[in-house]
């Protein structure tokens, strides 16, 4: 479960002319195994909200509960352990340039010290899912933007996370790849993973009518 209770987020170095608060009094709840689209114009605070969920920022005010634990009460070690249960697709991918596609996807499993046999089985399977099994030896700078995005998605889901957070995961994908991705995500969702996907892609949202969280200038203007 993910629950926000009157959450405010303030960046320390707000650009001049920008609002000091990226999020203003946001409250919502996503049940276990739920799916939410997160929509809103550019700069509305979608990435900011996701950062709070994947524990990359602390709120200025309010209460956040992730997978049943209060984010503010976590020790550093507990926070790290919780992050391992959250799969994240970053808007800017964040693949490690020195690792090839296979090792990038294997990274979260290696950090969690899984066995190499299991890693090989899972990584190979997920690379096949995203259609990049033949590119597993390529480094990120040898991959197209869409291919990098698919590797980032594979890395986010390879550990079968309890919670999947995706920031514009279809931004660099064509319609067919975006649909393939939705098949993957809804399959994970139906196996019990809670999913939240930020997107500008209205056509995609209309084809998959899940409930929506709508943000505008840091405020939640739609929930449902």
């Amino acid at each position: 479960m993910v629950r926000f209770d009157d959450v405010w987020l303030r960046y320390r170095h707000a650009a001049p002319g920008e609002a000091a608060e990226a999020l203003r009094g946001v409250s919502f709840e996503i049940e276990d195994g739920g799916f939410r689209w997160l929509t809103g114009p550019s700069g509305a605070g979608k990435t900011s909200l996701l950062k709070l969920i994947y524990l990359a920022e602390h709120p200025a005010r309010g209460r956040i509960e992730i997978l049943g634990t209060r984010a503010a009460r976590l020790t550093r070690r507990e926070a790290a352990m919780l992050r391992r249960r959250i799969g994240v697709v970053y808007q800017d991918f964040r693949l490690l340039p020195q690792l090839d596609a296979y090792d990038n996807v294997a990274l979260p499993m290696r950090l969690a010290r899984r066995g190499e046999a299991q890693i090989e089985a899972d990584v190979t399977e997920i690379l096949r899912w995203v259609g990049l099994a033949h590119r597993m030896d390529a480094h990120p700078d040898e991959l197209s933007g869409g291919e990098q995005q698919r590797i980032a998605i594979a890395r986010a889901v390879v550990g079968r996370p309890r919670l999947l957070v995706a920031d514009e995961p279809t931004g660099n994908l064509d319609d067919e790849q975006a649909e393939r991705l939705m098949v993957l995500i809804t399959a994970l969702n139906s196996l019990g993973t809670t999913v939240i996907v930020a997107t500008h892609n209205n056509a995609l949202v209309e084809r998959h009518p899940f409930p929506r969280l709508g943000l505008e200038r840091g405020r939640l203007v739609r929930d449902g």
Partner: protein, 296 residues
Amino acid sequence: MARRRGDLLGVRAALSRRLLPVLVGAMSFLAALALAGALACAGLAASWRGEAASALMIQVPQPDDPDAAHDATRLAAVQRALAGDPAVRGPAVMSAAEVNRLVAPWLGGDAAALGLTLPAVINAEWAGPGTPDALAARLQTLSPGTLVKTGALWAQRVAALTASLQGCALAVLAIVALVAAAVVAVATRAGLAQLRETIETVHGLGALDADIAGRFAARATWLALVGSVGGMALALPVLAWLVWLASPFTGPARPGAFVHLPPALLALAPLLPGGAAFIGWGTAQLTVRGWLRRLP
């Protein structure tokens, strides 16, 4: 399929193979010299202090004149008194030729040629407690004008000098250790800056601080160890040369001693790479963990 499992973060490339070992090597070189200096001081101090403090020198002017009781020469009376004192070991009269040679530089020529009567000089070892004041008083009555000198004052000076030299050597060791830690900290920070995005990403994927810091520390430990062993390897021949230079002061080298280095130094030598490795490990751990605090 051979897959890289070791260096996930690229720490190997980020912690330079050149700069850190070379600087740590230079520090180890200096540390080896300082350590050798401290040990040499300790050794010299022990032997000099012992010899000087126990040295006893008795001068008997007009040795051939009759003594106070008029039953022997002054020299014979003093010798008899010394032989009867259990605290005096191995009294030996220096030959006139030896005394002559000792004083010639001061007299500017041969004493006999100048018509001077030289005092007799007796060297002995003082094994008694405290200073030989009672002995001096007794000799004075037997043979007025007899002087008794010990090396106690010299021993004190030697002790003070060696203590201050050892203090300097320890200060050098401490400074060298601090500089080595600073070098490791700077190299680690440079590595962190280079890998900032990678570290932020793996942090976001749930890497523990201990895991990230451990990877840097392992690399820093290895580089410091390599550098230190290199620095030691360079220091040993230099030390052997210095020991050879100092041999007139330290006496003949023990036969069979490895390149004539003091055994204590050879025993302590492995401590330096060990210390360097520990400094590398500890500094890298502290630096990385401190840096990671900025991440949520």
